[in-house]
Amino acid sequence: MSHGERQKSLKRTEPISSNSELNGNETSGFGPQESLRALSSVFERSPVGNLLFSPDGLLLSINASALQIFGMPSESAGLLIGCYNILNDQKLPDEISRVIKRGFQSESVEFSNDVLSNDGMLQVIGQDVQPKSIWASGSIYPVMDDSGQSSAVILEVRDTSDAKREEDELRSNEERFRILSMATFEGIVLLVGRYAIDVNEAFEKMTGYDRSEIVGTDGQFMVTPESLIAISEHLATGSSEPYEVDVIRKDGSIVPVEVIGRSIEFKGRTIRVTATRDITERKIAEEALRESEERFKSFFESSPVGLAVFDADLRYISVNKTLADMISIPVAEHIGRTPSEVLSKWPKRIPRRVESILKSVIETGEPVVEAEVVGEGHRKTARNVLVTAFPLVKVNGEVKSVGNVVIDITDRKRTEEALRQSEARFRILADSAFEGLIIHYEGVFLDINDACLKMMGYKRSEILGTNVADYLTPESTTKVMSHVRAGSEEPYEIEIIRKDGTTFPAEVRGRAMYYKGISARVSYVRDISERKKAEDELRQSEARFRTLADSAFEGLVIHDYKTIYDVNSAFIKMTGFERQQLLGKNPGDFLSKESLEVILSHAYQSLEEPYEVTILRKDGTSFPAEIHSRDIDYKGIKARIGSIRDISERKQAEDALLESEERFRVTFENAAIGMTILNEEGRITAANPAIEKMLGYERDALLGVIPIEFTHPDDRKSDLKLFNDVIDGKIVSYKKEKRLIRRDGEVVWVRVTASGIRLREQSFVVAMTEDITERKKAEAELQMLAAELENRVHERTAQLEAANLRLKELEFIVNKSSSVAFLWKAQEGWPVEYVSENVVQFGYTPDDLMSGRIKYASIIHKDDIDRIANELEYYAAENKNEFIQEYRILAASGELRWVEDNTWVRRDSDGRITHYQGIILDVTKRKQAEEERMERTLQLEELNKEMEAFSYSVSHDLRSPLRSIDGFSLALIEDYIDKFDPQGKDYLQRIRTGAQRMGMLIDDMLRLSRLSRSEMSIEDIDLSAMANQIASDLKEREPDRFVNFVIEPGMIIKGDKNLMRMALENLMDNAWKFTSKVTEAIIQVGLTCHDDESVYFVKDNGAGFDMSYAPKLFTPFQRLHSVTDFPGSGIGLAIVRRVIHRHEGRIWAESSVGQGAAFYFTIGLKSGLASVAVRKKSDPLS
């Protein structure tokens, strides 16, 4: 319990204790006066409104609660008491008035929820107070005196307005709910726990059950088991989320229902109001939607055309595989990106065009149909596509998504192109023919060739599109129409009208044909004017030939085998004889012997079969002729008429044919390319050895076979169609490259050229098959090479670009740096090929040098050029390709600059040096500094030498006289001792002491000077071991002294061993010396740390010194103690300081007189911290 809580609880107990005090008072002395006060206090404070009336209805008392209930101000009590008479209150509602009256008739009456009003009271007090009706409960009862008479009447009132209002509300709510639930279309069930307590009509309708059948059950029979689980879950959690259940109707059918439940408090119970909605329709719609979506999806996915959907920002929402394949970019890489992003590797105009189409759809809301986009993919594959775009989803007239259909028409385009070419070929062919050729559809000219135009005297443009009938006589028109209608392919004659109005006869032969996709009619037209003329003439010739008009072109001979009676001019022409030479002669004279026999044999048998004879000409030559003979009655004589046809040409043609056939056969047999002839069924009827060899099959195995069997499965597809087109005459020939499979299974690439031919009323196809395997291989290789090359070009380009970029960066860096980049040729004078712009620091422009005006050699100082050249030669000989040279160059101002030249040598493939590449840095300042330093060093060396000479002479020359002084003083003492009194002897001794002391001083001085000059050899020094050694030396020197040495083990430093020993010796020697007068001497050698720095120290508990003299401590020959107290030259600490300084350290001392002294020093050479580490490592116990 916290402090605060305790406080509170104490406070809470206070009123209780005061109450108990009150109670105490009550019990101790409670008179009638107090009793009345207490009663009135209870009356006053009661939460129940209390009103006390006299038996005649006058208000005697009213408490605060009653005032409040009646809505009267508290101060109005005084006004009301004695004035307000409830029995006279006309404003009270009748009901309560009745109750009150009963109360005044000595009856105790209770009332509940009756209406009271304060109007009567308001009249009494006459104040401006809000009138109020009060719902109230309470009681009214008389107070009886001892005689049983009512002395007063008490009215107790409780305001029940709130309770009443709630009750009303509840009632009206219940009513509303009832009405609502009846009116709604939703089925409503009220549940208490699991059990239904009520349902509405809609629910009855939905389920088919009657209300009475449902109420009181848990409804389990009305739902499927799965739904039951769902319902249980929702009931358990009290969830108000909608969910779906399957309801089993009374008739057994199942209805999907959406359910939403809510728990409410109702009449003190928790009731779950469950609204249900039949969602059958929705389910059906959803299913349809799903199916439709499925259908759309499957259509979308499997469509042979490219499909895509874009959002309003032109980003792909979806795209099908066809479209993705078309542009070789995976579906996933489209989604969420714009065409420009997806086709980033394509020429920009293609995605832009697509985007502009999409934009137009979005902006106008109108579809764009079949816009043609010609694209060139990044692999240079031209693709022609038709793009159709249309608004897919519109919201408020704004297009939110766009559907996009892309049809790849590349192949169609190609075909169209091929067709156009083929048409052109056809036109040339048709135009070069002598025969007229027209193509018409239902009598309208579609096309006409030059020959026909010439015949008719028209231009093509005048004819095309006009009607055939316009150029024909009416009879001819009829004839043409009948032929066309019948589809006849027989030749017939018509009359054609020329442009100039004249007509000419023509023979026409038409046939149906596909032309540009329609079934047109092609007609061949031959001008037969000449023939007609001849025919007419013939008709007009001699009468006796009139019957023979048919044979007018043939030679005619009338004879009776003995005599020739008549011949016609044709025969005369044939034979070359004059008519007179022939008439009356024997026919035999003009025939070869064999022919005569043939003729005679025919004559006797009266054969009318044609036969061949050889007829002699006048010039002795002969010609083969075919003779038709029959009997004829000639001027009363029974004769024969022979019609003779010169068949030399036919013979020749036949011979030629034979020859040609032979030639063909030989060609066929010996052709290097495979040849086969296929019949209409496509079976091989002939095959040559080349194809046998190509396929590896014997000829017999090939004959009767359909070649598709030898074709590679992947190439079979179009074979049959092409073949049929040739057979049907739709195309004359085709060429195709495909793969054949040899008998041994090997694949052969071939080019087949197939042409249709018509032989003896039959269609054949001659197929020439070339083995192009090698070519194909070569092509494939070529393609690979090309691809590789392209790749390499790409790579190389990228590399070059990157290199260029790097180069630019480098150039920038170079120009920013103070180093000048040079490239000069290894030629006379070193002409400069390149120099970076920062060469201006030497006063030259890059152009000065690169133009060749100034060669590099010419700006090198004359004194340096030979040296540089020699060095270059040396490096070249050594095969060194990278080196540094230093020399001076002349700036444009004439100033000399020292430069450091980092040179790289460039060589050609033969190893010859072609260029030098140099980075040149101005080192003038450095050079100057170096020179200055060199000078200083020289000076120092000189000084050192002088110093050495000085100390040498000091050591030699200063000591000699001292030796003399000492030596001869001693000689005096020894040899002439009797000549001196004691004082004289003392003086001599003092002379000796002085000389010796001076000798020592000289020695110390020399040591000190040597210290500064000697070379240091740095190594690891075990300072601890050294200190121990010195300690033991000292102990040995004065074995009778007791000194306690405390030496820290494992102190390792870097330094010169001799110098360090000298320093440590001096320090320890001092300590030893200055502790000579201490009984328990302690000398410490150790190590501490100050600011991460190792500090070594030598500490003693000896005489110490006054710190005010500390600054003088390390000065040479400075003594702080008298020689008699502590002997010494005063050079020791000077030596120590010099040693420490030479080790780049510091030394200082701390002391006070009689308290001992401590000398601290550091070693600046790389050591300090390492020594600590080493120490710790070497001593695991520390």
Binding site: S955, H956, D957, R959, S960, R963, S964, G967, F968
Partner: protein, 149 residues
């Protein structure tokens, strides 16, 4: 012992006197020949100049050589001695005031047999000379004497 010669090369007469006294006090009474400079020392050793007449067979038992000498310094004297066959094997003790490291090293390099620094305290000097005489004249076996001719 007494018939052996000691050659002292010393320019300082005080030092000559003190050396003589020190020898005397150490009871080394051998004949002491003094050369006042390097040139004289070499002339004496090689029996030339003023000492042409000298018996070349009379070789010193030890040469006490100062380094700082007029005309030719001690190191040069030592070098020439070691180059000459007749003096090559003579014991040479460098007796000098200098304790320069350089002098010590050069002396030994040139073939000095001993190096003694003259102390200022005469008692120490006497002690040193005594030790020296004892060693070189008494303990040390001199190289076999070579007689010219």
């Amino acid at each position: 012992m007494s018939n052996q010669i000691i050659l002292l090369v010393e320019d300082n007469p005080d030092d000559v006197e003190l050396t003589r006294r020190a020898l005397f006090k150490s009871n080394i009474l051998n004949e002491l020949i003094v050369a006042r400079d390097g040139a004289e020392a070499l002339d004496w050793l090689f029996c030339r100049g003023d000492f042409v007449e000298r018996d070349p067979c009379q070789a010193p038992a030890v040469v006490l050589l100062d380094l700082k000498l007029p005309k030719i310094d001690g190191l040069e004297v030592l070098r020439q001695m070691r180059e000459n066959t007749s003096t090559r094997m003579l014991p040479v003790v460098v007796l000098t005031s200098s304790r320069e490291e350089q002098d010590v090293i050069s002396s030994y390099k040139l073939g000095a047999n001993s190096y003694i620094r003259k102390p200022v305290d005469f008692n120490q000097f006497v002690d040193a000379v005594k030790q020296l005489g004892l060693y070189w004249l008494l303990l040390n076996e001199a190289p076999p004497h070579k007689r010219a001719g």
